[in-house]
Each structure stands twice: as structure tokens, then as C-alpha cells.
């Protein structure tokens, strides 16, 4: 191809030249050029090597339909269509699937063996001994671009959600007209187009609308919309349509800014996405120099590039005449091969009627064209038009069904889809909308020119996936006659291209081969996205903490100042331990100090869900495994919440503040789940005017004072309450005052020591903590992190839900049966507690495990094992395991089969290759009588 720059070009600015490289070669262009138009103007005819055969390939199209010219952008994205990348100074562009470059590719020899590598060759040939042995090498030879390792990936796309009355997809004449009508009727309109400018075909086809040149009219309509405050999104592809008229749009930023992903929910959608020109099925129709006739018009009028000097234009319809006349006017030598014998042609053009192209001639570029009557025409470009395929992807995604139209040889939208209207070329109405046309009808009579079986030459059906007519014939011979099978067997219509240029020719050949009509063959499913969308756009900024925000304590800064090491616990960032030094030593020291003196602990994430109202007590009787209505005001009770299947869902303390007011103090990692469960049952089973639920977990901080000297510390803070055990015994709750603010003080312990949980509004947490720290100095208080707390509670055999329980644990596994025997009213999971499984003798029960082999702390997760007749069977596993500073020895908890009735037994525990010995002991290893709670 000897393409050349002509005068003009409405998209480019000749006062702003630029330069970039392609496969190391310098390329000049102008601002407004695409990489494709600049390469074409620069005389680069081979832009890529084909996917499978490494055939040289040039440009076929000018927009999203381009199947061949995929390029890698250094520091940018791989496999990008050259037709859609704006040319820019300093860009480094590489051809894909070619080594060392597209011009001289060392795998080009593959094409010589093409007859031996038809569709499915790889599957059939490399089966023995194992496809995976061959796969890496084959993938290297076949395939597309490579990711530049220096690429940081695209910047996170901004995501925008919007509602509108009318979304118009496509800003060609039909789309603009629809948008203007809706806007003038007062609708909120969004108009989008994948081009950088509005106008669609008006940007390159001559038209006069309402007295103005088409492109000017288009710009005026867009300006009118914008003046009305409506949105016109250019460079934006509507890639998918989803339930309830949600449309996904990908907006490519023009200036290196992040892309945008729009989710637009429209009351109605107008699809005006135009139509895509099809190739003609002649021999060697993939040669560089064979180009879509419409694309050639785009390059000429938009970019001032003529596709060749000696041009043959082959068409089975009348639209290509505009290309012919324009190129002739620009100075090219043009011959039109019109497949229609009775065509009316414009004067002054050389036109051969009733003939077809037999084959394109040339090695790596077109040098001549051989016609069906044997005539050979010398040519450096062969522009083809095989008719137009309406772009119906979004309509089909919206569950539309297609009809076949014999007069235009195309699938068009059939039955209407609620809220989705298809207009213009996308609906098969080629040419201007009637109310804009002003009598200038375009000649779109078309004759069939489908691929025929048995061609001697190779005829490409799918350029991107290297599928030829012979591959389709092979598929039919092997009985892959369903269109979906054809696609999967030959790869026709796959990959980034999704059959935009190839589908209909493939279907027509399949119809011919199987004696069916094209509509009987049907089409494959149209799936989003219409064009590739970077995954980064779907992700947007939702990664890391934006995907899963960390919950932070009101006192985080104070803990940091105290040298806390933070870790995440159940979504909360909490102090694991305080101070520098070996973590294990710090943790042991904290635990020991809490047992010997007093410790301060931030328990703010603890669940605090208020349950209020006259029916609160019966409601909580239903929620809990335990009876809660008998709880006296001012008292607390520990209990389980089960699932309906009878498994333990959560545990915790319920406080009764007064007759009609309770606080559910659930596990800190479980608050959302428990809150949802309470709401569901409240609304489904109870009178929701008589029970109310309010989750105040994040609104309040809970600061805990624990240890033998806890009372002295709390007394010195001064909370205006009596602290003697008659007024505030273990498992009681009272209201006090701190600096005039109501606070709640509960005698609840997770350490086994006397403890005071003081809950204050979160904005008072700093003041209370400061006071506690100040009082603590006099008492020698230590700061207690989560790790030390975990040791203290394990010494006592207190469980952590999800750690010491699993999805099969039931209350009976923890030795609890009393509530079930006494409780008369219904509660969640009750019926499941009398199933065979619930009463089974082999249940895994919660016990302590004491290492007896002198080899230190048992590994958490180690399985208790039983060996029988050479087989090893799991008896359960270690759930928690620590070194106990109070007992000066390792302690562990576990769920062990029949554990409660096997006290004193020694069992083997296996962890990886290590086998340990442990004795089954009671789960509470420290202060079994609980004397310290009252000390």
C-alpha cells in the first residue's frame, strides 16, 4: 500500500506535528491523528502479525471494529487497537505477536504449514502425553501482546453513578436527533459516543442537515444539549446493558487522566450505535492493502490520508461510491468493481458492473486484483464493502431478538424491548433519518456476496482469530453445526473482536454448508463488554482499605503514643500489645501484671445493641438459647444465640438496664450479623411497634479495668456510684456519672479477675482514658493488649466464637444442657437440639488439653488422632493454645470427640509430621471456683 497524505483532514491539526516510534521506526503525525492514521500516512502497511499463522496484516477498519491492528503501548496497555489510540509525541508502539517486528517476523514460516494446522489442530495433535507440555511454547507462538513489566497499570478509574430519563448511545445523526427531541421535551438526557467528537458518520460522510454541513449540525446539537445542562460523553463506550436498564459506560480519558466508569440507570434507552462494514470473501482478503471502503473514507476525510494511489473499490452495495468519488477527487486512480450488474453509478468513475473480486494478489501487500472474469487490475489498495452489520449488541444483551432482513442482508432488532428503542443504522435504516434527509436518499441496494464452500484460495472469515472458510467447512464436516459450537471449535467471533466484522459472513457460510437460511443458523450470544474494559475500571478505587475499610478505635492515637503494636481483629485495628521488646515477653508480662495488680484494656469494639420496648423480654427469650426474661433489672447474664440449625452463632453477655431495656453485648466481630438477625426476627415474628433495636456499638467506647486492684482504681476515678459488692456485684450493671455524663459500668469479666467495663459516648473516651491512666499510675496499672487478653481468657476456658467453636458446635458440646431442660418458650434453633445428631455420643466437646510430653506449647490446629487397624482418624483439634504465665506451663483448648467423658485420658495430637502427647483436662485451668471474680 502506498498511502499518502492529501490536503485537509478535519480531525488533525497540521500546525502541531508530533513523532512517535513503531517497532523502533520513527513515525511522524499531527495532533488529532490516531496511531493507525499516522502509521498509514507514514507508509507502514504491515501493522501486525496474525494470531495463528503469523500472516502480515494491515489496517482493515478505522474504529472499534478494527480486528488486525492490535499494538502494545510501552508503559501502557497491551493489545490496544491502533485505531483508538491517539497519536502522541514520544509514544513507543510495538506490534503484537511478531518477533523481531511485524515487518520481519520469524514465525512467518508457520503460514507455509497452514494447511496442516486447521481449526482444532492443537487440541488434536498435542494430546499425548499431556497438552501442558506443549502449551507454553504454543502460547508463545500464537497469541497477542505482552504486558510491559514497567507498566504500573492504569490509574484507578473514577466511578460515577447517575440516573437519567433518556440515555442515547451513539451520537450520529439518529442519536443526535433522538437526544435533541428528548431534551426539547424536557427530559434529562445523557448522550454518549465512543468517538472523540460527536457526529458519527457525519464526521466523514457528506450531508447537509437543516442547512448546515453535517459535522457542524452535529456540533450544534451537542452544544444545545450542553447549554441545557445535559451531559454529552465523548470517548465513551456503552459496553453493557444490565438489569432494569442499567448501562455500563467506559470513558477513556483524553489526557492521561484516569478513565471513568459510568453506571447510568435510564428510564429509557435509545440505541443509535450505527453499523459496521463487512469484508468481502475473496481469496487472500487479509492482505495488507485490503481495507474497508468506509474506513478508507474516514482516513481520507478525517485524517487527510488516501489509502492508495491506484485504488480498486469492490462493493456489493452502493455506499462505497462516496469513497470512490472522494478518492478520485483527491487524485487517486480509482476503479470500482460493483457486484451489482444493474447498478446505477455516478458519472466520471471507472465502474465494472456485475463482476466480483476473485482474489487479492501480492505477498505482503496488495499489488493487483484478480476479478471473477479473469481480469487483473493493477492496484496498491483494494477497498471492500460487503454490506453493513447493524450494531445490535446492547439490544441483544437486553434480551432483544433479531430478525433477518433479506433486502439489506442483515440482522436487525425484532420485537421491541421495554424501554429500549433502536434507531438509525443500528435498526437497519442506513442513511439519514427521514426527517433530516431532505430527499437525499442513499443507494443501499445490495446483492449477496457470501463466502462459498470449496474456494481454491484462502478466504478469511475472522481476521482477528485467523479463521478461514476452510475452518468453517471442517467444523461442519465434524458436525459442529450449531453456531455456538462453531464459535468454540474454530474461535470464530471470539476475543476482543467478538465477531464485529466476521459473524455474519461465518453464519452465511454455515447456512450454505448446511442447507439452511441464515436466520435458521442464528447468532451466538452477545455478551458484554462490547469492547474490552480494563479490570481496573471495574475495580475503581475499591482496593485495600477502600474495599474493606478498617474500623478504628476512638483512642487509636492514645494507644500509638503508648507504643501499641496494632493488628486487625474482626475488622478492628486494635492494640495487640504495648511497648518495644520481644513481643512474646511483652504479652506474657501484660497478662501477668493483670493477674497480680490491675490492667487497663480498650474493649470498645464489643457489641452494644440496645433492645427496647414492652416486648423486649419475650423477644430476647426467643433470640437466646438461655431464658432472659427472668433476668432482674441491673443484672447481666451470659448466653448463646443459636442458628435455626441449632449451632452456636454467637455468645455474649446480655444486660438488663430496666424492665424494658436491654443491651446485647455480642462478639465484636459479629455485631453486624447479630444486628441483622435481631432485625429480621423482630420484623418477622414480633410486633415491631413493641420492640426496637438500636446498634450503638460504634457510638460508645468501652474501657475495661481488670485485676485484683481494679476496684481501687475505679474508686479513685470517681464515677458517683457505690462500688461495694452489695451494690455492684459480679454480673451487675449500674449507671454512673463521669464529668456529668452518664456512663454505664458493668461487672463483667473476660479475664477471670474482678473487672469493670465502663462504657461512655465515643467522644468522651479520651477524657475517661486520661483519667483512668492518671488513676492507674498510682495503682501501677499496666496496659493490656488483645494478645495478653486472649491468654487470660484461655486460662479461664472462656471461648472466642469462631475460634473455639466451629459451624457444628452446639451448647451441649460445652456441657450446657440446663437452659434447654428448663426453658418452656420457643427460641431459635430449639427443634434442632433434639435431633439424633444433637444427642449423638460422638460429638466433639470442648475441653482443656495439657501437654504431657514436655515439648512446650501445643500447635493450634493440631488434630487429636486415633489409630485403628492401621488407619488414622481425627478426633477433633486444638482451638487455642498459649503459654500461661499464671500457671508457668502451656495450656490449650480444643474440640475433642467425647472429650467431656474422657477426662484424664492421654491422646496423641498430630501437627504436620510432629506427634504430641496431651492429657484431656477441664477447660478452666485457673481459679476453677471463680473466687478471683469477687476478690
Amino acid at each position: 500500500m502506498t498511502a499518502w497524505r492529501t490536503e485537509g483532514g478535519t480531525a488533525i491539526d497540521r500546525s502541531r506535528p508530533l513523532a512517535f516510534t513503531f517497532d523502533g521506526k520513527a513515525i511522524d503525525g499531527f495532533a488529532g491523528d490516531t496511531v493507525a492514521s499516522a502509521l498509514l500516512a507514514g507508509g507502514v502497511s504491515v501493522l501486525a502479525r496474525s494470531f495463528k499463522y503469523h500472516r502480515p496484516r494491515g489496517l482493515w477498519g478505522a474504529g472499534v471494529e478494527e480486528p488486525n491492528a492490535l499494538v502494545d503501548i510501552a508503559g501502557g496497555l497491551p493489545n490496544t487497537r491502533a485505531t483508538q489510540v491517539p497519536a502522541a509525541d514520544g509514544l513507543v508502539v510495538r506490534s503484537v505477536n511478531a518477533e523481531p517486528n511485524a515487518e520481519k517476523d520469524r514465525h512467518a514460516f508457520l503460514d507455509a504449514f497452514s494447511r496442516f494446522i486447521p481449526a482444532a489442530f492443537y487440541y488434536k495433535t498435542f494430546m499425548f502425553p499431556d497438552w501442558h507440555l506443549f502449551e507454553p511454547r504454543i502460547r508463545e507462538m500464537a497469541g497477542l501482546g505482552t504486558l510491559d513489566e514497567a507498566t504500573k497499570g492504569p490509574a484507578f478509574a473514577e466511578q460515577v453513578n447517575q440516573h437519567c430519563d433518556v440515555l442515547v448511545v451513539g451520537a450520529g445523526p439518529s442519536g443526535l436527533l433522538a437526544a435533541r427531541k428528548a431534551a426539547r421535551a424536557g427530559k434529562r438526557v445523557v448522550l454518549c459516543d465512543d468517538g472523540r467528537q460527536v457526529g458519527g458518520s457525519l464526521l466523514f460522510r457528506a450531508a447537509v442537515i437543516e442547512g448546515k454541513p453535517g459535522a457542524e449540525w452535529a456540533a450544534d446539537v451537542a452544544a444545545e444539549l450542553e447549554r441545557a445542562g445535559l451531559r454529552v460523553l465523548t470517548g465513551t463506550t456503552a459496553f453493557g446493558i444490565y438489569d432494569h436498564r442499567l448501562v455500563g459506560l467506559h470513558q477513556k480519558a483524553a489526557d492521561g487522566a484516569p478513565d471513568r466508569l459510568w453506571r447510568i440507570r435510564a428510564r429509557s434507552i435509545v440505541l443509535a450505535a450505527g453499523a459496521i462494514e463487512r469484508p468481502l470473501p475473496f481469496g487472500n482478503n487479509d492482505l495488507p492493502g485490503v481495507m474497508s471502503a468506509e474506513a478508507a473514507l474516514v482516513y481520507l476525510r478525517r485524517f487527510g490520508v488516501a489509502a492508495g494511489r491506484k485504488v480498486v473499490i469492490a462493493a456489493n452495495n452502493g455506499l462505497a461510491y462516496e469513497t470512490a468519488e472522494a478518492l478520485a477527487a483527491a487524485g487517486a486512480d480509482v476503479t470500482v468493481v460493483d457486484y451489482r450488474a444493474d447498478a446505477a453509478s455516478p458519472a466520471g468513475l471507472r465502474v465494472l458492473k456485475g463482476l466480483a473480486v476473485a482474489t487479492a494478489v501480492g505477498r505482503s501487500a496488495v499489488t493487483a486484483v484478480k476479478l471473477s472474469d479473469g481480469t487483473v487490475l493493477e492496484a496498491d489498495a483494494l477497498l471492500a464493502s460487503g454490506g453493513f452489520t447493524p450494531t445490535v449488541h446492547l439490544y441483544c444483551q437486553a434480551q432483544g431478538k433479531l430478525d433477518w432482513r433479506d433486502d439489506i442482508l442483515a440482522f436487525v432488532p425484532g420485537r421491541s424491548v421495554d424501554g429500549v428503542e433502536v434507531v438509525g443504522a443500528a435498526a437497519g435504516n442506513f442513511g439519514l433519518p427521514a426527517e433530516l434527509a431532505g430527499g437525499s436518499e442513499r443507494d443501499f441496494r445490495i446483492v449477496a456476496a457470501w463466502p462459498k464452500p470449496g474456494a481454491r484460495e484462502r478466504v478469511w472469515i475472522d481476521l482477528q482469530n485467523d479463521v478461514t472458510a476452510k475452518d468453517v467447512e471442517l467444523a461442519v464436516r465434524e458436525n459442529f453445526v450449531s453456531v455456538e459450537h462453531l464459535k468454540r471449535y474454530t474461535t470464530l467471533g471470539m476475543a476482543t473482536d467478538q465477531g464485529k466484522t466476521s459473524n455474519v459472513n461465518g453464519l452465511a457460510l454455515m447456512a450454505e454448508l448446511t442447507g439452511r437460511r441464515i436466520p435458521e443458523v442464528g447468532t451466538t450470544t452477545y455478551r458484554p463488554p462490547f469492547t474490552p474494559v480494563p479490570l481496573a475500571s471495574f475495580a475503581g478505587a475499591r482496593s485495600g482499605t477502600r474495599m474493606n475499610p478498617i474500623r478504628r478505635l476512638p483512642l487509636e492515637a492514645q494507644h500509638r503514643a503508648d507504643g501499641a503494636m496494632f493488628r486487625e481483629y474482626g475488622g478492628w485495628l486494635r492494640p495487640a500489645f504495648y511497648g518495644a521488646g520481644a513481643p512474646e515477653e511483652r504479652i506474657q508480662a501484660e497478662a501477668q501484671a493483670a493477674r497480680e495488680g490491675v490492667a487497663l484494656f480498650d474493649g470498645s469494639p464489643l457489641g452494644k445493641i440496645d433492645v427496647m420496648g414492652p416486648d423486649a423480654a419475650p423477644f430476647l427469650d426467643f433470640i437466646y438459647y438461655n431464658t432472659m426474661s427472668t433476668l432482674a433489672p441491673g443484672r447481666c447474664r451470659y448466653g448463646f444465640i443459636l442458628t435455626e440449625a441449632g449451632n452456636i452463632y454467637d455468645d455474649g453477655v446480655l444486660m438488663r438496664l430496666d424492665e424494658n431495656r436491654f443491651v446485647v453485648s455480642c462478639s465484636s466481630s459479629h455485631v453486624a450479623g447479630v444486628h441483622g438477625l435481631l432485625e429480621e426476627w423482630r420484623q418477622d415474628r414480633f410486633d415491631k411497634r413493641r420492640v426496637f433495636i438500636h446498634n450503638v456499638t460504634a457510638g460508645m467506647a468501652t474501657l475495661t479495668v481488670t485485676g485484683p486492684r481494679a476496684r481501687a482504681l475505679v474508686e479513685s476515678v470517681g464515677l458517683s456510684i457505690a462500688l461495694d459488692d452489695a451494690a455492684l456485684p459480679h454480673m451487675a450493671v449500674v449507671s454512673g456519672l463521669f464529668d456529668g455524663i452518664a456512663v454505664r459500668i458493668a461487672r463483667v469479666s473476660f479475664t477471670g479477675e474482678r473487672s469493670y467495663e465502663i462504657s461512655v459516648p465515643a467522644d468522651r473516651a479520651r477524657a475517661l482514658w486520661a483519667r483512668l491512666r492518671q488513676a492507674g499510675e498510682a495503682c501501677g496499672a499496666t496496659l493490656l493488649g488483645l494478645e495478653a487478653l486472649m491468654i487470660l481468657r484461655a486460662e479461664k476456658g472462656y471461648i472466642v466464637i469462631g475460634k473455639d467453636t466451629d459451624g457444628t458446635s452446639r451448647p451441649i458440646d460445652f456441657g450446657l444442657t440446663a437452659p434447654l431442660e428448663r426453658k418452656k418458650v420457643a427460641f431459635i434453633g430449639r427443634r434442632s437440639l433434639i435431633t439424633e445428631d444433637a444427642a449423638g455420643p460422638d460429638r466433639r466437646q470442648f475441653v482443656g488439653l495439657e501437654a504431657v510430653d514436655g515439648k512446650g506449647v501445643l500447635p493450634t490446629g493440631a488434630h487429636g488422632i486415633e489409630r485403628k487397624a492401621g488407619a488414622t482418624r481425627s478426633l477433633g483439634y486444638v482451638t487455642s493454645s498459649y503459654f500461661s504465665p499464671a500457671l508457668r506451663k502451656p495450656i490449650a483448648l480444643g474440640l475433642i470427640e467425647r472429650g467431656l467423658s474422657r477426662m484424664g485420658d492421654i491422646i496423641e495430637l498430630q501437627h504436620l509430621r510432629d506427634v504430641r502427647q496431651a492429657r484431656i483436662v477441664p477447660s478452666c485451668a485457673f481459679d476453677e471456683e471463680g473466687a478471683r471474680l469477687h476478690a
Binding site: 432494569h244 435455626e644 418477622d684 411497634r689 431459635i828 434442632s832 433434639i834
Partner: protein, 94 residues
Amino acid sequence: MQLFPCPFCGPRSESEFHFGGDAGNHRPEGFRDVTDGVWAAYLYERNNRRGAASEIWMHMACGEVFRMERDTVNHRVAQSVALGKGGGNDGMAH
């Protein structure tokens, strides 16, 4: 992404809702009289209806639990109904 009408908030994105189960899956009351079969059906047997379906959903943003009539084939939503104003058990699967 579907639009579901919350009786309290109006139409909101599907992602804000939590599926509760089929409506009308009434909890068998009592327990000794409830057979294993009846209880297992309540816990585990689901209809996965094609076409018209009546389901319980929760709007996570406001906490409203409601019954929604919708079509599982064409995703048309007929209506959403708040659960019984004064108690009543519309039945959901837990």
C-alpha cells in the same frame, strides 16, 4: 444490577439488599410435635422458583425486612410489602 423497591426508602440498588429466603416458609411452631421431616423441610428445602416468586429481603441500609413479589426469569418486580404491621409471621428462612 437490579433496582429493588424498599417499602421504607424506595428504589435502591440490589447490592444494598440481603436475601432472607422464600416467603411463606413458615416456622413450624412447637418442637416435640414437629417431625424431623417437617423441620428439615423448613431448614433446608428451597423451591428456587422459576417465574413468579415471593421472597423475603432485608434492606441493609435501613434495616427494613419486607416481602417482594418478583419474576425470577425476566426480573420484573411486581411489588414490595412491608411485613405485618402488628406482628404476624411472614415466614423466612434463617
